[in-house]
């Protein structure tokens, strides 16, 4: 096997949370609120349900082929050539998604703390830090994540509590004002983020107890969904739907307005500092999937030689969107169908159906 390490269920959950949350709490609230207004949090509930479905789908697909990750099981189900084609598509998707994340990461840092710094610095340093973790393997990546994630989430939670002074529950009313359609529309973006759990198929073989895969995926999705919901609720309760929809990073702004006793203020910088650790972890997970997938696709014995070239490709791809507004527009409109329909639900479902029809793999564990 390319990866020698083993991680436990806790580490896997944390990794899956880090894979979605860091950029999700930044960009998802604004987009969702634009569609669903004050009901955006209901959209997240819906999206979480969809995410759970996808999580179940990918975990049960993976469990039919113990010890095999996405690339290996695709080849086993569809045969060599079609498997390679699908594999190539996934490599592209991992790379593209990672480039988008990198772009968001750099764009946000540029807007939030360092407006004069060229994007390439953020991209390069991000790629170097994440690449260093990836090069050292899954174990190190998940330990790094385990080291910082509790700290980041704890800090976020405290900061949300501090924002309570500025919140008004009335801003969440009326519920269901415009009916179900806007809520469903709004749920597309969060669902596409939660659906990134499809990457879990790359990691399940390296769980020390792979049988827990479904539980891990479900717990991670539930946790991420609820945290996302809380961050949307905070932004909505602080600003109301109009303002929230117009900010680029509403959660960030909600934290910015906190001012307690003229002393606890400018907390956003502390949070950005902490958030960067999460950003590196998120970059790392996709980076890892892309590198491991490419190595498998090319039939290499070691994935480490690919870390540097893939990193360079990522930095290049991160320049696809000319600016952050353009990027957010793509994430809001182009991204969800492309991600959900093809990579997160479509292909895994196809694979599962074909595997069942051809009777390949063991029985799915319930």
């Amino acid at each position: 096997m390319l990866e020698q390490g083993k991680i436990d269920a806790k580490q896997a959950i944390m990794l899956m949370v880090s894979m979605v949350l860091p950029t999700a709490i930044l960009t998802v609230p604004a987009i969702t609120v634009q569609y669903a207004r004050q009901d955006a949090w209901l959209s997240v509930v819906l999206a979480t349900l969809a995410g759970l479905l996808i999580a179940w789908l990918v975990a049960s697909l993976s469990l039919r082929f113990p010890g095999k990750n996405l690339f290996e099981l695709t080849e086993e189900i569809l045969g060599k050539v079609p498997g390679k084609v699908i594999g190539l598509l996934y490599i592209w998707w991992f790379l593209h998604t990672n480039a988008l994340i990198m772009d968001e990461f750099g764009g946000f840092l540029c807007v939030a703390i360092m407006p004069d710094t060229p994007h390439i610095i953020f991209f390069l340093v991000g790629a170097i830090v994440a690449g260093y973790a990836v090069r050292n393997g899954l174990e190190v990546l998940s330990r790094y994540n385990q080291l910082f994630l509790p700290f980041i989430l704890g800090l976020l939670f405290v900061v949300f509590l501090l924002a309570a002074k500025d919140m008004k529950a009335a801003r969440l009313l009326p519920v269901f004002d415009a009916g179900l359609i806007p809520i469903v529309k709004g749920s597309a973006v969060p669902a596409s983020w939660l659906g990134e759990i499809v990457i879990f198929t790359m990691i399940i073989p390296y769980l020390n107890k792979p049988k827990q895969a479904i539980r891990v995926a479900a717990l991670a999705t539930l946790f991420t969904g609820s945290f996302l919901m809380v961050s949307i609720l905070v932004a909505l309760a602080v600003f109301g739907p109009n303002l929230t929809g117009h900010w680029v990073f509403p959660t960030f702004n909600a934290i910015r307005v906190i001012s307690i006793a003229n002393f606890l203020e400018r907390l956003e910088s502390v949070l950005i500092a902490a958030w960067m650790f999460g950003g590196f972890a998120k970059l790392g997970v996709f980076y890892y999937a892309a590198v491991l997938g490419s190595a498998q696709w090319l039939g290499l014995k070691d994935y480490r030689p690919l870390v540097a070239p893939v990193g360079l490709i990522l930095v290049g791809l991160a320049f696809l969107c000319p600016n952050i507004v353009n990027l957010l527009h793509f994430i809001a409109s182009g991204w969800p169908p492309y991600a959900i329909i093809v990579f997160e639900a479509g292909l895994p479902l196809l694979l599962l159906v074909v595997a069942m029809a051809r009777g390949k793999g063991g029985k799915a564990v319930d």
Binding site: I121, A133, V140, Y144
Partner: protein, 548 residues
């Protein structure tokens, strides 16, 4: 260029040339080196003739003016000639004259009639009844004899016998047991290890009176022949760990071991890391506590610093006193230490990043006062911080190197002159001095060996902060975090029990659980017998009170 780099790489990475592309002959066909490291007389044996033996030993130990040869006869019997060889200053002269010479030449004839003892029986008789020495050994090998003489033992040669009796009559001037200078404590044992290995092992044995405490000896250093001891508690320690320690020690082939630091660098898991993955202590009680947690101790003759492996990062937050003081207070102190650790690593970087890039993070009044201080200062903040940091490092180094009485003066002059005058002269801002002083003091709160690593990394982080602001600082910290995650010490992840998290072992990281709740030993170090104590030891007032 390439030609230059290759051998350098080979030397640095410890790879032999034979592995490379070159067509060198295989290592096995090389003749074995004959030199200082493996003497020509290595495998020779003693002869039955006393004169031959003496001549041989004198030839080997020529120009060693501290070796003394004393020839005399056994029990006034001219037939049986004896010779004593020992190193002056290492052997106990009183014991030699009283319990060896006096006994053999004067006292034995008072008890038995010695004329009937033949040359052939003399050896047996001397060993059984003649010598009044508590410990004797025998050897027939020349090398062992030489080694015994140079280690402080007294060698007795008997004419007509090809064996030497090694008398354990050692006695040399040694430093007495003093307070631990590098690990002072308010509460707890005041004993510290010394340079003599036997004293050190006795300090351990006195604390663990269990047959399971094993103290295995070996010798390292081809020239110095230094005694090294591996201590562990059988039943608690992981057997694979002991085997691993032994195999790593056995592959050491160097000329000298003068301090345990030599061994530390030769057995580390990651020699390039700034972080030490082998811990050391000079407190016997700390070493014993480490052994009880399943670690292996390595004690080296000639130094009061014993090594312990495996080493976890959290050990640097733990002081021996933590386990003697009350747990709530200890936990608060550990939190302080942790905070100081973060300060000592990041404060200068944070200061540079905030004052050069992110003014908005500071409260307005503070920003104004910093700006006012900096008005007269010609350099950017980064330069000011570097000047002060380097000054501080120089002062610290001077404080250690200078003779004690002058050291005091240097620290006073340094603090006054550098601190006060530098500000007045407009060289640096007052806030810079505060930041650097704070950082320096913070780095003294936790274990010294970790603070060295932090000192190095602090400079890197300051430079990163000056280049990329907060983003540079956090990126640097993330790299350090990832690096710490990659480290292992003898197979145990360096950052455990934090990452990977082992829930029960978090009881002794920042929060120190009370003793009645320390139910298990560290899970990743001790693999088998993890139970430390019985449950339900929490003290409580008696349930049935006397009725009035």
């Amino acid at each position: 260029m390439i030609n230059f780099i290759k051998p350098l790489r080979a030397v640095l990475l410890g790879r032999g040339k034979g592995k490379g592309r070159g067509s060198n002959p295989p290592a096995a066909s090389k003749p074995e080196d004959v030199g200082l490291l493996s003497p020509a007389w290595k495998d020779q044996v003693l002869s039955p003739n006393l004169e031959t033996n003496l001549r041989q030993i004198k030839a080997i130990l020529n120009n060693c003016s501290d070796v003394i040869y004393r020839e005399f006869v056994f029990a006034q019997n001219e037939q049986i000639r004896l010779a004593l060889i020992y190193t002056d200053g290492l052997a106990s002269k009183g014991q030699i004259s009283d319990q060896i010479m006096r006994a053999l030449s004067l006292e034995v004839p008072m008890v038995v009639s010695c004329q009937e003892i033949t040359k052939a029986r003399a050896m047996e008789f001397i060993k059984q009844r003649g010598l009044c020495i508590h410990q004797i050994n025998e050897t027939g090998k020349l090398q062992d004899t030489i080694q015994a003489i140079l280690s402080g033992d007294t060698v007795l040669l008997v004419d007509g016998h090809a064996t030497a009796i090694i008398n354990g009559a050692r006695g040399w001037e040694a430093r007495s047991i003093t307070d631990p200078e590098s690990e002072p404590t308010v509460r707890g044992s005041r004993e510290s290890f010394v340079e003599t290995i036997r004293v050190n092992t006795s300090l351990i044995r006195r604390r663990i009176k269990s047959p399971n405490l094993k103290i295995e000896a070996l010798k390292l250093g081809e020239v110095t022949d230094t005694e090294v001891v591996i201590a562990y508690i059988e039943g608690i320690v992981n057997d694979k760990l002991v085997a691993e320690v032994k195999s790593r020690l056995e592959r050491i082939k160097v000329d000298a071991i003068l301090e345990s630091g030599y061994i530390e660098e030769l057995i580390e898991d990651n020699p390039w890391s700034p972080f030490p993955t082998v811990n050391h202590t000079e407190k016997p009680d700390r070493l014993v506590a480490m052994l009880l947690e399943g670690r292996v101790g390595i004690i080296v003759d000639g130094t009061p610093f014993a090594l312990t492996v495996p080493n976890l990062f959290v050990e640097y937050l733990q002081a021996p006193e933590d386990y003697y003081e009350r747990f709530l207070f200890t936990s608060a102190v550990r939190l302080t230490r942790f905070l100081a650790m973060i300060i000592s690593l990041t404060l200068p970087g944070l200061y540079v990043a905030v004052t050069s890039f992110h003014f908005e993070l500071l409260p307005t009044t503070l920003l104004l006062s910093i700006a006012a201080q900096r008005e007269a200062v010609p350099f950017p903040v980064f330069v000011g911080v570097m000047i002060m940091e380097i000054t501080f490092e120089i002062l610290r180094e001077a404080g250690i190197r200078l003779p004690r009485p002058i050291g005091q003066a240097v620290s006073i002059v340094g603090a006054l002159v550098i601190g006060e005058a530098a500000i007045r002269a407009g060289l640096v801002a007052a806030s810079t001095v505060i930041v650097v002083a704070m950082t320096g003091i913070a780095s003294f709160t936790f274990a010294y060996s970790a603070s060295i690593a932090f000192r190095l990394l602090r400079f890197a982080l300051t430079i990163l902060s000056a280049a990329f602001g907060l983003f540079g600082l956090i990126s640097g910290l993330a790299i350090i975090g990832i690096h710490l995650c990659t480290l292992r010490s003898f197979g145990v992840p360096y950052l455990s029990p934090i990452a990977p998290t082992t829930g029960v072992d978090l009881k002794d990281v920042i929060f120190r659980a009370p003793w009645w709740a320390m139910l298990s030993r560290p899970r990743l170090i001790v693999r088998k017998d993890q139970k430390r104590q019985e449950q339900g030891l929490k003290p409580a007032p008696p349930e049935t009170r006397p009725k009035k």
